[in-house]
Symmetry: C2
Subunit: 122 residues, 2 copies
DNA sequence: TTAGATGCAAACATTTTGCCGCGAT
DNA sequence: ATCGCGGCAAAATGTTTGCATCTAA
């Protein structure tokens, strides 16, 4: 199954690659894997919750193989995405509960993204 | 200038329309405005900070004419986006400062998005 | 008269799909 | 034999751009 190759390759990234970047990396070791397969499996993995899809304004979708770190810092200069660990699950749950109580929605999760300028770009 | 028409129409929405939805609404009153103009002006307005572009996973870009309410709840069933007001600017600033202190990035803002199921879809 | 804005259509990039073949159960 | 997965290319989608035109300063 190619799914495992794709998942392993994604996890080997410290950055958060797009499907295209991931495919470029994968074909170095598995030249026959097609882009469609990468896209298909990325979607399946994201639906299963095995990976996280990061939606970025004015940019393609990026993927994160680490499902535990839910926060990202996005540099508006270079487009880089960096992991951020602020607060904890408690804080997230507190926010989720606040939304549940105030609006009645069924809240699955919350994601906080920071934007600005990264160290290299300053 | 069509920019004002576009901005006014966006502000008349209680929902957060895509560029396409916004264009459909605009041509009801101004039939000659083209999609390219809508896209162009949306980008300019978003760059100026007059409107907010909302990036959604597996969906097109949506726009928000209200720049003050920075939080959204996204329904994964119907794709609807709803405004959420939890916490305040203080909380945001506290998070921003935490990221600044821990990582040294220049943090412009943070956005918290909640996902789950909305009232209609429950 | 110049600079910017607009409409139209074509171009573009990203992502999805159809179809066929393959391999495992 | 069947069923799902994968490769390839084509399609679909959303967004941007080139160009000619028009308007306003």
């Amino acid at each position: 199954v190619q799914k495992q190759i794709i998942l392993d390759t994604l996890k080997s990234f410290s950055t958060h690659p797009s499907a295209d970047e991931l495919h470029s990396e994968i074909i170095k070791s598995h030249p026959s894997i097609s882009k469609a397969t990468v896209y298909r499996n990325m979607r399946h993995l994201a639906e299963k919750g095995a990976i996280i899809q990061i939606a970025v304004a004015n940019d393609v979708a990026r993927y994160d193989g680490c499902v535990d770190c839910h926060q990202h810092f996005i540099c508006e200069k270079c487009g880089g995405i960096f992991d951020v660990h602020i607060g904890g699950d408690d804080d997230s749950e507190k926010l989720n509960d606040a939304v549940r109580n105030k609006y009645g929605y069924q809240v699955d999760k919350c994601i906080t993204s920071f934007t600005g300028t990264c160290l290299d770009c300053i």
